[in-house]
């Protein structure tokens, strides 16, 4: 069914918030989305009626919680179409998923003189873990360049893939620019040379259907809180063959098979990578968030969000001295811009006063701002509950900003 925001918004009580007496316009969805009541109820129900530690006690509640947790793994598996349930590892979020790969993959497969490829439009979460891993291994971090539009230079990428490349780690969708990268093609090119690819999907899963088998990527990371789920939970998908070869990331309970003081053997997947008591409640909340997305339907979510994206871009274009940052042909849900004559901080401050929540600054992607030589941008990031009317309100606010500073 096409999206009806009037009905849909009722599931998000927070959207009724008033800011300085005005209705909140929430345009900071790339930072985190709001959560529907179904997710909140799921969390509450877990703690109210189901709470128990999983995989441990052979008692009624524990068994029930274990079943629910394993059910959530299956939901994740089918959501991204992974081949096996045990290829789904629950983490704290994208950041932890990336750190896990950077640590475990690199400790086994990267040696001095090797290269890891990232791109010029990565979130700090997909830069710093690789810098640290490369420093430890005396490997080199290579950066796939991008052009003015905010598209990766595929020719340069092809040339960079070589004998020494051990891994490519790239974002599916840029949080600062909205660019959708041609990840399938990039995986194909890397695989021609037997180089595995990790995709940072934090900004993709809220907006589009992802099929890891179709992409054929080796790792895929995403966060629950950016797709209507709770904070503190996310997923690392990894191909079984890689995960089995990689050493554990953290150690403790749950991830072991047998422990002796001389020797410990590790449990099988996914437990090997899930040390300690997992975040059961939030995993279940994330499952409910996925059900929320599936019920709306990816094609309807995309249709609605693309309509908003085009509408917003068309409206904003009419403002004087506006400069769009990130004009790639394939984009989703993000409009990043600044006024040539007004600092983004000033724009953001006035928008905030007018009840409009946007993010200003470098969006944890400082290298992008250096590339464009700008102090930052104002970022409108959309979600399924946003409306054209909210964009109109934002336009009025931006007109006011121009009057105040212009």
């Amino acid at each position: 069914m096409p999206i009806h925001t009037d009905t849909l918004r009722k599931a998000f009580p927070i959207l009724e918030t008033k800011v300085n007496g005005r209705p909140l316009v929430y345009f900071d969805n790339a930072a985190t989305t709001q959560k529907p009541v179904s997710v909140l109820e799921r969390l509450r129900n877990y703690y109210e009626r189901e709470n128990s530690n999983i995989h441990r006690g052979a008692h009624f509640l524990s068994q029930q919680a274990t079943d629910a947790y394993e059910g959530a793994s299956k939901t994740m598996q089918s959501f991204i179409n992974a081949k096996h349930t045990h290829e789904v590892i629950f983490t704290r979020g994208t950041t932890e998923s990336i750190n896990l790969v950077a640590h475990s993959f690199c400790s086994k497969f990267v040696k001095a003189g090797d290269e890891i490829l990232i791109s010029a439009m990565e979130h700090h979460s997909n830069i710093v873990p690789w810098q640290i891993a490369c420093r430890e291994k005396q490997a080199e971090l290579k950066v796939i360049p991008m052009d003015e539009q905010g598209e990766l230079c595929m020719d340069a990428y092809r040339d960079m893939l070589g004998e020494k490349s051990r891994l490519v780690a790239i974002t599916h969708v840029s949080n600062a620019l909205g660019t959708v990268n041609p990840v399938k093609e990039m995986v194909g090119l890397a695989h021609e040379k037997n180089i595995p690819v990790m995709i940072d999907g934090a900004q993709a899963t809220p907006h589009m259907a992802v099929d890891v088998q179709e992409l054929d990527c080796d790792f895929y990371c995403f966060s629950g809180h950016k797709m209507y789920g709770p904070m503190g939970v996310g997923v690392l998908y990894g191909k079984e063959a890689w995960l089995n070869q990689m050493p554990p990331y953290q150690s403790g309970g749950e991830m072991i098979r047998e422990v002796g003081f001389k020797k410990t053997t590790y449990n099988e997947l996914p437990f090997k990578f899930e040390a300690g008591t997992p975040n059961v409640a939030d995993v279940l909340g994330m499952e409910t968030a996925i059900q929320f997305i599936l019920k709306l339907g990816h094609q309807h979510i995309s249709a609605h969000e693309n309509d908003l994206l085009h509408y917003a871009t068309g409206q904003l274009k009419q403002l004087d001295n506006i400069r769009f940052v990130g004009t790639a042909a394939q984009r989703t849900s993000v409009v990043s811009f600044l006024f040539e004559d007004i600092h983004p901080y000033d724009t953001g401050t006035i928008l905030d006063k007018l009840g409009i929540a946007v993010r200003t600054g470098h969006h944890c992607a400082q290298p992008i701002m250096d590339f464009y030589q700008i102090p930052g941008t104002v970022r409108i990031s959309l979600a399924v509950y946003n409306t054209r009317r909210e964009i109109d309100v934002c336009m009025d606010a931006l007109t006011r900003v121009r009057e105040m500073f212009g």
Binding site: N20, H343, T349, K353, T360, G361, Q366, P375
Partner: protein, 140 residues
């Protein structure tokens, strides 16, 4: 010369005239525009205070027992708030500057601009103003 407390009170009274946030911000913007600021040539990295969003430059001089500040920013609202800080602290004795609690910022409803997460450099700027004062104080 008025004390820091007196100057703070002056600013608070000025801001009491505004009952609309728009008027208040328009005033801050005007203050920002009127601030002499720092010459482009002096906007050097050594005077730069890192805030990741807006950049702030701060210079201090010591003359006849008083600290004289000049400061600037690339964001206009930040510049306006800087103008207030400079107005209150510039020309005061180091010991008084070190002691100043700067609560007037809260009283005029601009505290949100001093939160660390805003990262506009203002919080660090106040710290730096006091550090300069402390250094001048110890030189004596």
């Amino acid at each position: 010369m008025a004390t820091i407390k007196e100057k703070e009170q002056e600013v608070i009274e000025e801001f009491e005239l505004f009952d609309d946030w728009m008027d208040k911000y328009n005033y801050i913007i005007d203050l920002g525009k009127a601030l002499p600021g720092i010459d482009e040539s002096n906007r050097e990295d050594k005077y730069l205070i890192k805030g990741c969003q807006a950049r702030v430059w701060l210079l201090a001089e010591y003359k006849d027992g008083k600290v004289m500040y000049s400061a600037d920013s690339d964001a206009l609202i930040t510049r306006g708030i800087i103008a207030l800080l400079v107005r209150v602290l510039s020309g005061q004795a180091p010991a008084d500057i070190v002691e100043a609690d700067m609560s007037f910022i809260d009283r005029i409803g601009l505290k949100e601009h001093l939160s660390a997460t805003r990262s506009n450099g203002l919080l660090n700027m106040i710290k730096q103003m006091k550090l300069y004062a402390l250094a001048f104080q110890q030189k004596n």
